[in-house]
């Protein structure tokens, strides 16, 4: 391991691979994400985006390969990795039967914050996400955008160095989507947070990402800044053109039954 390089990288993978039976969902990927960067992972449904995030967040062990997150090996030091990261799943993970405050308090306790830290950080997070007036309402009464902002608040409560967001705006209307984007950009500006975000929304990728990688059939097709990638395809090329070019021309056709129904369930719950 090259410590000089590793020290400057928030996320580093080497030949990271995950196989499910005969299916190779993620195939020897090499990723380098610097601290303070918003890095996008794009790809059609079933390209392997969520599998990459699950491996990097220690939810799923890789079949072969190596990854470091926040300087910690995901296999040897999963506890340290978990302390360094925040995660917003594609699913709606906030508990609707609890209030926003109770959801945040549970996270704060599981992350070992002291009672003084809990009070201060919950208050800060609620203010930052614009949820202070709804803190004591049940989450099942929240709008989709409010739920996503609450989940972001939960994920940042322990001040992680790196935030993983798996399709955070899926199912949100444009107003709520832009509100989530604003909060993400503020997180980067105010806390210097590193963000790895998966999406197949090209507008989102262009608005948020400093750099992005496009996955196709579990492999990385290309890595670069959105503007550079567009320029490489021609003066009038858009991110949609870039995606179609590198993702095998399948913006909406891919995905297993499970992935599609999961995405629709999430959209339904947030909508």
């Amino acid at each position: 391991m090259n410590n000089d390089i590793s020290d400057k990288l928030a996320i580093k993978t080497s030949e990271l691979t995950r196989q499910f039976g005969n299916l190779i969902a993620v195939d020897h990927i090499e990723l380098r994400v610097s601290y303070g960067e918003i890095f996008g992972l794009l790809g059609a449904n079933g390209a392997g985006k969520s599998t990459v995030i699950k491996m990097l967040t220690t939810l799923l062990p890789p079949t072969i390969g190596f990854a470091e997150v926040g300087g910690f090996d995901i296999i040897k030091s999963p506890g340290d990795v978990r302390r360094s990261i925040g995660y917003v799943s594609q699913l709606v993970s906030a508990d609707g039967t609890l209030t926003g405050f109770e959801n945040l308090r549970l996270s704060a306790k599981l992350y070992g914050l002291t009672s003084t830290e809990r009070a201060e950080r919950i208050n800060d997070a609620l203010n930052f996400m614009g949820l202070i007036d709804s803190a004591h309402k049940l989450v099942k009464t929240y709008s989709g955008g409010m739920i996503r902002r609450l989940e972001l608040a939960q994920a940042m409560l322990h001040r992680p160095a790196i935030l993983f967001l798996d399709e955070p705006t899926i199912g949100l209307d444009p107003v709520a989507r832009h509100m989530v984007w604003d909060r993400l950009l503020n997180l980067k500006r105010d806390y210097g947070m590193t963000v790895l975000i998966t999406t197949h929304d090209m507008e989102e990728a262009e608005a948020l990402c400093d750099r992005l990688a496009i996955l196709h059939n579990g492999r990385i097709s290309v890595v670069g800044a959105p503007a550079e990638l567009c320029a490489e395809l021609g003066a009038s090329a858009t991110m949609d053109d870039v995606f179609i070019h590198y993702a095998g021309g399948s913006i909406h056709e891919g995905g297993t039954f499970g992935e599609v129904s999961q995405a629709r369930r999430t959209a339904q719950r947030l909508g």
Binding site: L59, R82, L91, D95
Partner: protein
């Protein structure tokens, strides 16, 4: 240890908040023991077909119905775990640095508190039906410990099944398949002496038998533990430890 206690307590706290906020499950689960005690128990008591020694039939089955109530409630705990998986709550918990053992233990303790609420309902029904109950603080305390252990055993067993089957549909089928055999292959509604040898062997391998045996000695006046409390509690603690060990290892697979 302090961290383990703090994390488990956080899980128990949210489970209790949910229970208090929506007690319909406790209310609906109280109906079944009422039927067993008021209808089944009274009819069988009139028939005098089952020899229960010094105890009336109603007093004999009261601890059995409490254990049944705990079993039926805890065994479907896995449905809630699968629901949490489908919602993404499990993913959120597993990405936190909390120990997997404290997450699972917290769930088991929360199931124990549900069991205690059910025990309260059954004490009340039994009292109204003139079953003579032991009300000494030590006896009640030991019943509560038994209920916590029994609930913990079947809730973690349920969690293990949930981790294996992963869908609500499959779980419902397996849950139905397990509960009635576990109940009938135990000393809940008839003594072990009345069972054919093959069934008695199965009953002796069934942890529910030891829960009922302890409850029968601790709960009703004139009741006694056939195996002895040391055996009953040792078996329950050992089974709970094994279930916990397996559940802690399988719980992370829910997010894969």
């Amino acid at each position: 240890m302090k961290r383990f206690a703090r994390e488990s307590a956080a899980i128990v706290e949210v489970e209790l908040i949910k229970l208090v906020r929506d007690p319909t499950e406790i209310i609906s689960r109280a109906i079944q023991p009422v039927l067993w005690l008021v209808v089944f128990g009274q009819v069988l008591a009139q028939a005098r077909g089952i020899q229960t020694g010094q105890l009336s039939y109603l007093a004999f089955i009261t601890p059995g119905i409490l254990a049944q109530s705990i079993l039926f409630s805890a065994i479907f705990y896995g449905i809630a775990i699968i629901w949490e998986r489908d919602l993404g709550v499990v993913h959120k918990l597993l990405v936190s640095p909390a120990k997997r053992s404290s997450l699972v233990f917290g769930k088991a303790v929360a199931a124990g508190f549900r069991g205690i609420l059910q025990a309260t309902v059954i004490y009340l029904i039994a009292f109204l039906m003139h079953v003579s109950l032991k009300l000494e603080p030590i006896a009640i305390g030991a019943v509560l410990v038994s209920v916590m252990l029994g609930s913990g055993i079947f809730a973690t067993f349920s969690l293990i099944i949930a981790c294996i089957v992963k869908t609500r549909e499959r779980f419902m089928g397996i849950g139905q398949l397990l509960t009635m055999p576990l109940f009938f292959a135990s000393n809940a509604i008839y003594p072990l002496d009345l069972m054919p040898d093959w069934l008695r062997i199965i009953a002796l391998l069934n942890p529910l038998t030891y829960l009922i045996d302890a409850l029968r000695g601790l709960m009703v006046t004139g009741g006694a533990s056939i195996h002895g409390y040391a055996v009953d509690f040792s078996v329950m603690i050992a089974v709970f430890a094994v279930m916990l060990f397996i559940a802690v290892r399988l719980y992370p697979t829910l997010a894969e």
